[in-house]
Symmetry: C2
Subunit: 296 residues, 2 copies
């Protein structure tokens, strides 16, 4: 099969260059219709993308581009989920928590689905480790979870999934997962009651120090024990995210918990008294501006 | 110019399909060397990517794929920075804070640079609004800032940039930016002393209520005033991020502030006593496990 691409000095090539300069990027469908002589064969379409060489079916090739969600998702089986967990644990030691969860899921989807996952820059999210650049706020695993869930199921379902993962994260004694190649022996599990890194890891370090008989100050940050804990926790969060994605793929994902911002009328945790005691501030009327929201 | 793509029933096509199934994705350089008959012309290489049709120079085409950072960055001028700010403000009302900052920067880079930005799924990060799915932890603007900075400058510089942006966010009376099309009149500016959404927006709402003479409970969450504040704040964070990226492009970006995790030996803010009072816990020895870290 032969494909014609215009000579670089031809009128057609000049128009093409002008269109590119003007930012008139053609949709793939537009490309097939408007420049129909491009590489359409019996088996599909040979596409040289930023991720390498891909052969798409005609139906796939006519789909929306990678900037639009959701990307294709295929349910992961138990062997693949185990692989997600192992990569998440091991990759904590390469790029910390956000990268661990995200690369655990994306690496396996690169193998199983390919396509847009292959050219997704997982390293761009490393910065979210340690509660965002080490500032101790949102646990980085949850950012990795939300990104993976949103890519695979779209931004609305993705947010519902990460909300459920955050409930799991906050209410469960973690870590649970036992990796094939632990880098330290650890004993403690702890319930964070928060998605906040500083509090979550602080509680666990105190607990582990007590378990080891060293007292509450026995285990430090970036100790082998803390690092192993956060590696296992990354595996737990990655597996839980895939569990919800698999349920969603079966049409069985049902969000159970109301997002705290809707429940409490301010972005927040649900355990207000843990910080505020009994004197919880009452802000003004909620939600009157929602009519300003468009688009999404 | 003519490009040959193997007939779908040929031996070559079968091998190609097998390689794709096995996940052997060729790098673009590999593709040029190994399958040299593909589309290499005098003007460059016609590439059908997920983002549409692109014409790359030979040098560009030989570069790493979109999963690798940094992506190309071109300094934005004052007109373009104004556009970043306007998009950030306006897009808050479409997808909230993370999306606002990220789409403000990425939309302008799509026009100026094109390439990988065009197919980047900015909606995948909407979930990080309101301190992550409305849980009130890391302000979503900072997640948008970190992603944009990491895409354009790589993950190490990106993290240094977002760290500086977080200092700006925490120490500055915000919002500063006055948009072309404000959706509400607001009066207050407030210093958050934290990257935590719940505290940052809570302080501002209290301040605005007092400014409006309604008392500290006068302005609620998702009131027109709060939404306008967070929209302007998104513009401030997006502009500050671009300011650092421009300095970096000139070789003039110098990280000034130590990441709190390194300064305080735990992921944290720097104002420990604000929450802990004088009895700040002292965890165990810091950093002894760092030898376990590979890769990054």
């Amino acid at each position: 099969m032969v494909v014609k691409i215009p000579d670089s000095k031809s009128e057609e090539a000049k128009i093409m260059l002008e269109e590119i300069k003007e930012g008139k990027i053609l949709s793939r469908r537009g490309l097939l219709v408007g420049a129909g002589k491009l590489a359409v064969g019996a088996a599909g379409i040979a596409v040289v993308s930023s991720g390498g060489l891909t052969l798409l079916s005609k139906a796939e090739a006519a789909k929306k581009n990678a900037s639009e969600l959701p990307w294709p998702y295929k349910k992961l089986n138990s062997k693949e989920i185990k692989k997600v967990a192992e990569i998440a644990h091991d990759n904590w030691f390469k790029g910390f928590c956000t990268y661990a969860v995200l690369s655990g899921i994306v690496d396996v989807l690169r193998e199983k689905v390919g396509g847009p996952y292959t050219s997704f820059p997982t390293e761009a999210f490393i910065f979210a480790h340690g509660g965002t650049a080490g500032w101790g706020a949102t646990c980085g695993t949850l950012i990795g979870s939300g990104i993976a869930a949103s890519l695979a199921s779209g931004h609305k379902t993705g947010e519902q999934i990460v909300n459920e993962v955050m409930v799991f994260y906050s209410d469960t004694a973690l870590p649970i997962y036992m990796p094939d190649h632990p880098k330290a022996d650890i004993k403690a599990k702890s319930i964070s009651h928060t998605p906040v890194c500083h509090i979550s890891v602080g509680k666990w370090m105190k607990e582990e120090g007590l378990e080891e008989g060293k007292g509450p100050e026995g285990v430090g940050f970036l100790s082998p024990q803390q690092m192993e804990r956060c590696g296992r926790l990354s595996a737990d969060v990655a597996m839980k995210t895939v569990e919800f994605l698999n349920a969603w793929a079966d049409g069985k994902f049902k969000p159970v918990h109301t997002a705290p911002v809707m429940a409490n009328h301010i972005p927040s945790q649900n355990n207000c008294t843990a910080c505020h005691g009994e004197s919880i501030p009452k802000p003004g009327p909620f939600g009157t501006g929602m009519s300003l929201i468009g688009g999404h």
